[in-house]
């Protein structure tokens, strides 16, 4: 219950950023291409896929945590990986939470610009592939927004990382679960300080992402 010394706080912040950053990368690499394809191409059963993605966007993190927990448990299907109660399990759970957010919002962003832009460039004599590329470029701001939203969703999430990480001090304790521990111990001052740290970390991360978005826009 003593105050948290500086190095420990830095460790917690680094782990928080590492876990959520890794999960965001995985979700982006998988989600942006899928969302782009879904926004560009029309096929039979698309509504079902869209529905599944939107449901995934609203999935409670703690439920994702429960599924991940059961899968990664030594008695579960992926138990041989031995990932439970390690940061890898937290990355896996957060990637699953972030993926539908990235894919779904990318799909919306692409679909929103698809029709007008495609008609325009095809009228100008572009091929189908050139038209698709132009649509994706036009949607890039919406895609960045998708990534920003997913990042905000997972870095502030507590249920899943608590379950699959185990909140082990110095190993799997991130900002949100540390806040839970200090609140449980009635140390509201420390919990508050960690909460403010989380807000600052999220703010700085968003500033960086928005700078990136600004550069994309200027291009």
């Amino acid at each position: 219950m003593s105050g948290l010394p500086g190095p420990d706080l830095l460790e917690i912040v680094a782990l928080t950023l590492g876990v959520s950053g890794a999960a965001l990368c995985i979700a982006t690499l998988a989600g942006v291409p899928l969302g782009a394809v879904l926004g560009l191409v029309h096929f039979r059963g698309q509504r079902l896929v869209t529905l599944a993605l939107y449901t995934g966007m609203g999935l409670p993190p703690v439920v994702v945590g429960l599924f991940t927990y059961l899968a990664l448990s030594r008695s579960g299907v992926l138990g041989s990986l031995d990932w439970l109660f390690t940061p890898r399990a937290m990355v896996a759970a957060q990637a699953v939470i972030a993926f539908p957010l990235v894919a779904g919002l990318t799909m919306s962003a692409v679909a929103a610009v698809e029709k007008p832009v495609r008609q325009q460039v095809i009228a100008l004599g572009a091929s189908r592939w050139q038209a698709a590329l132009t649509v994706l470029l036009e949607a890039r701001i919406g895609v960045t927004a998708a990534i920003v939203a997913a990042f905000g969703g997972i870095i502030s999430e507590v249920g899943a990382v608590m379950l699959v990480g185990g909140n082990i001090e110095g190993e799997t304790r991130v900002l949100t679960t540390a806040i839970v521990v200090y609140t449980r111990q009635g140390d509201f001052a420390m919990a508050m300080a960690l909460g403010l740290t989380l807000i600052v970390v999220t703010f700085v991360a968003n500033v960086l992402l928005l700078q990136l978005q600004g550069r994309l826009r200027d291009r």
């Binding site: 219950m1 590492g18 030594r74 111990q185």
Partner: protein, 278 residues
């Protein structure tokens, strides 16, 4: 931007670095052993002698046993005797050993609206609370404390019901905070109560006295046990380290440290060691 990418890459590398399984022991335990500060006081000694790391997963006893039942922890330090015996009977552990004990106390609002202060047994106090329909905060999480609470309601032949009975599904600290805010009674282990009482000015002990010797109800004894998860049932566990941990925890030097923990801060130990001499 390039520097930010470098920093993130380093952070990922930290996440991805493999933990050597040989030198790591997974201990699933109750929140009371961690929140009271006991583990922080004794574990560094074990980590030094075994040259290993101990990962502590602090949850309710019910969840800790469930983690062990799935083979996801190597050793358990819990307080839920019947569930522990069942765990051994099912073959998930070869044996369980007494480690230490303290006791449970009934705390409640300073005015004692249910007149629980005049009773000698927990079941009498619980019956009084039910008669007065005074607010009672329950852990509601299948923890060792919750199990004792439910057994006490059964002994009092009362089926506690809302609105006066609140089942929270939270840890001891949160439940005590709730009791403080809502002027409710609750059953708590003495270690967590002593560690947090400075933040709980609205609450008093109405049954259990100032130390375990003053507790008038023998059924409120809170016994902790240690169980090494059996490698027969769960081949993945680190049975060697788990065995060393059990031996170390029950050894006279460690038992002495447990018995001294808390005296300087609270004037009495938070846990009383009672391992049988092997």
């Amino acid at each position: 931007m390039r520097r930010a990418i470098l920093a993130l890459t380093l952070a990922f590398a930290g996440v991805a670095s493999p933990l050597s399984a040989q030198g790591m022991l997974r201990l699933a335990t109750t929140t009371s052993t961690q929140d009271s500060g006991l583990l922080g006081a004794i574990l560094p000694d074990f980590e030094r002698v075994c040259a290993c790391r101990v990962s502590v997963i602090a949850v309710g006893s019910g969840q800790a046993l469930e983690i062990g039942r799935r083979g996801d922890a190597d050793v358990l330090l819990v307080h839920s005797r019947k569930a522990e015996d069942l765990f051994v009977a099912e073959g998930h552990a070869r044996a369980r050993f007494d480690v230490m004990y303290n006791d449970f106390v009934l705390v409640g609002p300073a005015g004692d609206p249910a007149k629980a202060g005049g009773t000698r047994l927990a079941r009498e106090a619980f019956a009084a609370i039910a008669r007065a329909a005074a607010p009672f905060a329950s852990r509601g999480d299948k923890s060792g404390t919750h199990v004792v609470e439910q057994e006490t309601w059964a002994a009092a032949q009362v089926a506690p019901v809302p609105p006066w009975y609140r089942s929270l599904g939270q840890g001891m600290g949160e439940t005590l905070m709730f009791a403080q805010e809502q002027q409710a009674y609750t059953l708590t282990d003495r270690a967590t109560w002593m560690a947090l009482r400075g933040r709980l000015p609205a609450l008093r002990v109405w049954l259990g006295g100032d130390n375990p010797a003053e507790n008038s109800d023998p059924r409120l004894r809170n016994q902790y046990g240690v169980l090494a998860v059996s490698p027969d049932r769960h081949p993945g566990v680190n049975a060697v380290l788990a065995g060393r941990f059990v031996d170390w925890l029950l050894s006279p030097p460690t038992q002495r440290i447990i018995g001294e923990f808390g005296i300087s801060r609270f004037g009495q130990p938070l846990f009383r060691p009672n391992a049988a001499v092997k």
